[in-house]
Point group: C2
Chain length 321, copies 2
């Protein structure tokens, strides 16, 4: 209940996700220095709730009427570089303006946004997250070697660092876990493999880290997007959010492909179908859709499942690509 007297800027930032043609996509605007940025709106008092404010300015700015919306996280670190973990650790000057960002995750079925906003592939920002065509080579060729140097240079912290790396990227007896997208992002940033900001790069040998080929975003927006990706992947498994990204009627393959796009892995077709039907998540309409091969039945989401199962969602029994 204390009135804050320092200068503060508050924004509502939105990670707006859609899936088009097997590709998970992110709505971005052109930020300073030509960098992609998340759509961002003002915190205004005329809306009753934060979520309503968000919906309204997204509609105003992009013409998108977002469906599912959930609050992600509130970011308020002083250095709004994406990591806020690695670098400056002292108590800095008090005169700067403090940025507070209340970030939301929104899902839309598709979209034709108005000028100024464009859809970009999520995995352009996080190429190490897409395992649908096998484990990306960059992980073993670039990322893990760099992280190993980071571990080795850790001194007392070595063991702790090794544990972090293992938790983030998996290892023997511990599979890669899609949900830990944020941990991976923060690790890569901290180690200097990403180029949002050059200052915090970690150079074990004094040289330049080679870096990971990926698209940066304005300020810490990529960090926010990583938060969203991890959250969404987790939510998939216990809440029927996929259907927010699909048309009202869809084939099971479409459904599977959207899940695969978000989870970043391939699923086993036969099992997927049975699980999803067996869980009562979908029901067949009689209709058929013409596809490449044999026509497929169109299914629809069964809302009733919400009152039947405690945690209705699509698990991830996966398969090597």
């Amino acid at each position: 209940m204390v009135v804050s007297s320092i200068p503060i800027e508050i924004s509502l930032d939105a990670v707006i996700v859609a899936v088009t043609d097997d590709a998970p996509r992110l709505l971005t605007i052109d930020g300073p220095a030509g960098m992609p940025a998340l759509p961002s709106g003002p915190f205004q008092s005329r809306d009753r709730t934060l979520e309503m404010a968000l919906r309204r300015w997204v509609l105003d700015q992009t013409g998108l009427d977002v469906g599912y919306v959930e609050q992600l996280y509130t970011f308020g670190d002083r250095e709004r570089g994406p990591g806020s973990l690695g670098s400056a650790d002292g108590v800095g000057s008090d005169d700067e303006v403090r940025q507070l960002s209340i970030a939301y995750l929104a899902l839309v079925r598709e979209g034709s946004p108005s000028a100024g906003a464009s859809w970009r592939d999520v995995y352009d920002f996080f190429p190490w997250e897409d395992h649908r065509d096998g484990r990306p080579a960059m992980i073993d060729e670039v990322i893990l070697p760099a992280l190993q140097r980071f571990v080795d240079a850790g001194g007392d912290e070595s063991r702790f660092r090794a544990e972090r790396v293992r938790m983030a990227f998996g290892g023997p007896r511990l599979p890669f876990d899609g949900v830990r997208a944020l941990e991976r992002y923060e690790l890569l940033y901290e180690v200097g493999l990403l180029f949002e900001s050059a200052e915090t790069r970690w150079r074990p040998d004094g040289g330049e880290a080679p870096g990971v080929a990926s698209r940066p975003m304005y300020l810490d927006h990529r960090r926010i997007a990583a938060t969203a990706l991890g959250r969404l992947r987790g939510k998939l498994t216990y809440r029927p959010v996929v259907f927010e990204l699909l048309p009202a009627r869809f084939t099971l393959l479409q459904l599977q492909q959207v899940v695969e796009a978000l989870a970043g892995i391939r699923l086993h077709k036969g099992n997927f179908r049975r699980l999803v039907e067996g869980a009562g998540l979908v029901e067949g309409t009689g209709e058929l859709a013409r596809t490449g091969g044999r026509p497929a039945e169109l299914f629809r989401f069964r809302r009733e499942v919400l009152g039947e199962r405690p945690r209705p969602g699509v698990g991830t029994p996966w398969v090597r690509a």
Copy 2:
């Protein structure tokens, strides 16, 4: 990136939880009108991160050095009555001060807070959440009848309301789910069974709703606490947070009782022990503890489990009381 020009108060509110003698407890301060309130601190720019700011003022105010901290949610509804769902739906006056609360969940092992703060039993605020001695009678005697009236008076919305009630409190083929504490709280508030604020009470017959015997909190703080309870219950199952509430060495019964206290249900002893040991969550020290009966071995948390299992936590195989 838009500068907000309306008057805003930002606070960092903390839901600080401990478990003492089988009772989950909440640290509260004396709020206006003698109501319990959550400890609340200023948003200050001199701390580098929000979490650090929180830790610092909690230490200053209460003397508590909190261990585990996680951001819960940011509350910014215009009416910071706890529900913000039921009542006023128009666009109100712009001249009021907007309250923004960034809420955190913190876990401590025990505590001797300084003057002004006191520990209260969590279930004093949420008596319908404690099922350790069987399903609380108030659910069937007071709550469900009132909710049924709410459903019946719903008109077009009846079906939707019935679904909400069923999801919140369970029903045939759908067990009561401890994690949905927030949904239950919001439902009860909306229906007028709680007395934070008299205005938003729903009276199907124009009379007074009987209400549920429970302790209110200042403003929407009980809503924030309900958010914390649900989140904590969920987290228990996939992250080893329980150990933040226990001493370094503990018996398996102690561990079980802390889990039971938070989950609000009784667990099956034999299975609990095997699950928790089988999952590699704990390891025995040789030492024994004198207890009421046969001495029990003291166990410790196995940190290594973090790098071994994807989602280390204590499931909730429960048992009737």
